[in-house]
Amino acid sequence: MSSMPDAIVKQDAKYLADNARRRKRFSLWFYFLCVAIALISVVILIFLMASIWSQGHSRLSSDLLTRSHSELEIERSGMWPSILGSLFVCGTCAVVALPLGVGTAVFLEEFQPTNKLLRWIHGFVQLNISNLAGVPSIVYGLLGLTVFVYMFNVFGQIRVNESAGMEIMGYKHFYQVLTLEPGHVVFVPQSDPTKRQTTFDEPFQAVDPDGNSIEISIWTPGTPKPSDPAIRRQTVRAGAIGGTITERSWYYFRLPFDKSFLSAGLTLALVILPIIIISSQESLRGVPSSLREASMGLGATTWQTVRDVCLPAALPGIMTGAILAMGRAIGEAAPILVVMGAAVAKSTGPKHLMDDAVTMPVLIFNWAGRQQDEFKELSAAAIIVLLVVLLLLNSTAIYIRHHVQKAQS
């Protein structure tokens, strides 16, 4: 055996002991530093919550949850339409972004092509997704405005009382005509969609507001006016003008989507798509390759392996990514402001696919900028509600994830 190198031989016991003590002390300091940094973020959060609570708790009432925005009764303004609107927008966003995102992640991770061109496309998609994750959300808002709201104007423009774009389903156009009974109208199905107005001179078939088909007669000025209200409801003045009114079912669909909650949801889907793809990819990468080999070794195809082995094993991770992404979507204001505008007066949730909506962040943005102190307090209260809704959604998702994990292990 050769002699020990000098570096080992020359160490004396005192130096080694001092050195060890110094390193332990540094380790302890580092530990306290980490605790302090962690505490700072917690303290900031608590301070934020406390300040919002102190401003807003007096406005937490049933009015806030059930009524809509009101300029006249400021103190009784509420956010019910915006809660519905946010749920609709985020629901659309989830329905679109989750399958697309997980599907893209499966393609990128599990179906790695051998063909040179396909491999190049593969790499190109991957590079783009990584870059898209860092794009500011207002840029997505502009993209959504061009693609979903206007659709490059290829289907025509939507103008109030002039053009409804290209309507596809779920609509009925009527002419609305006043009868002799004040305030009572009847409807006539519109035959020519380009004619926005029509004049009635002859008796005609119409539908009353209850949906009954009735025969309408014409009253010419100068002749005696019928006095019985029942007859007056079935009579219109000669030359009466009918303007268009549209009845829309919930599945009303047209191109382009205009300033609708659908446009907003699709735009938000673009915002969170890269987040979902990247987190799903990470969790698929975490599935041990031994499980894939086991499945392939039993004669499973790639798709069967993905469906029965990889996705179930990666599901908890995918859900974590989805929870984070949805948390971001529900709090986004910028792209929604670009796509749907800043109006908050709407008193209901969306009625059909092409209806617009108010969302919570936009309402908060609007209220927080008002002069009146009531609105400032209301916006703080709305923030509390937004946080509670977010917390509820997240805990539901975490509860589901927990059960999935338990069922697997």
Partner: protein, 277 residues
């Protein structure tokens, strides 16, 4: 159950019968990218026998094993040239499978040629669902048929008695040795003809190893088994034929007893006597 004594007995019995070749390998060359892992390899693997592949790490034995059911398809850059065929038997109209045919139905091949890996790799599902995984892919079975098949497979893999009371419990809750026998049950549940085993005991303790070796010995009456092992004793205990590989070449192949007691090549002699590897 003792593995050693009956092994020698039936080895002598089966030696009396002429070997019927099931897997025929001729002038096989295999590469990973530019690296040639197997050179001009020719070997016949007998039916219903246990064939052991031995040799130092990187000698190409696992590569060859994984070409037999095309598991190498998923390895980027892996390719092979030459002939590797599974000859059909009389009951099967002598249909021969050309394993390296690029147009081959790999899914069907892997049903016929099952594989058990080095580390036990049960799915994170229940014990029952692990065994039923393969049958659900390939077969149309009723619930009761599937129950029967799962029980049969677990019994064949000598793990039934240990798991019968917790079939719907998690497979990952089993010990390493039990998990590996579960993986064997999972492999035989699809009714393969060949079982490939890639160092099936290297992650297990001695008593689990013994249980798997007993099992391999039992299974060879119905299956053709190819086992890769680093363990000389294991090869000598439970195989009928042994092939020694070195640097991607087949150095020597023959009856296990002959390879271990009177090897024809000096390299084989050095390796089996523990001089290197």
């Amino acid at each position: 159950m003792s593995s050693v004594t009956p092994a020698i007995d039936s080895e002598q019995n089966s030696d009396a019968l002429p070997d019927q070749t099931l897997i025929h390998i001729e002038k096989l060359n295999a590469w990973y990218g530019d690296f040639q892992a197997i050179h001009d390899l020719s070997l016949d693997i007998p039916k219903h026998k246990v064939t052991a592949f031995i040799g130092p790490s990187g000698c190409g034995k696992s590569t060859l094993l994984k070409w037999i059911n095309r598991m190498n398809d998923v390895v980027p850059g892996a390719r092979a040239k030459g002939r590797l065929a599974i000859t059909g038997d009389a009951s099967n109209d002598h249909v021969e499978i050309d394993v390296l045919d690029p147009g081959l139905d790999v899914v069907g091949l892997r049903r016929k040629v099952g594989i058990v890996f080095q580390k036990p790799n049960p799915f994170p599902k229940s014990i029952y669902d692990n065994v039923a995984f393969g049958p659900r892919l390939h077969m149309k079975t009723s619930k009761s048929e599937l129950d029967e098949l799962v029980e049969w497979s677990l019994q064949k893999a000598a793990v039934w008695d240990e798991v019968k009371d917790r079939l719907h419990g998690p497979a990952l809750g089993l010990s390493g040795g039990q998990q590996q026998r579960l993986c064997i049950a999972r492999a035989i549940a699809v009714g393969p003809e060949v079982l490939l085993m890639d160092e099936p005991c290297s992650a297990l303790d001695p008593s689990s190893t013994l249980a798997i070796e007993d099992l391999i010995f039992e299974l060879r009456t119905q299956y053709t088994i190819v086992i890769v092992t680093h363990n000389m004793q294991q090869a000598s205990r439970c195989s009928d034929k042994t092939a020694f590989f070195f640097e991607g070449r087949l150095i020597e192949a023959g009856p296990t007893e002959q390879v271990f007691t009177r090897p024809q090549q000096k390299q084989t002699d050095d390796y089996v006597r523990g001089k290197f590897g």
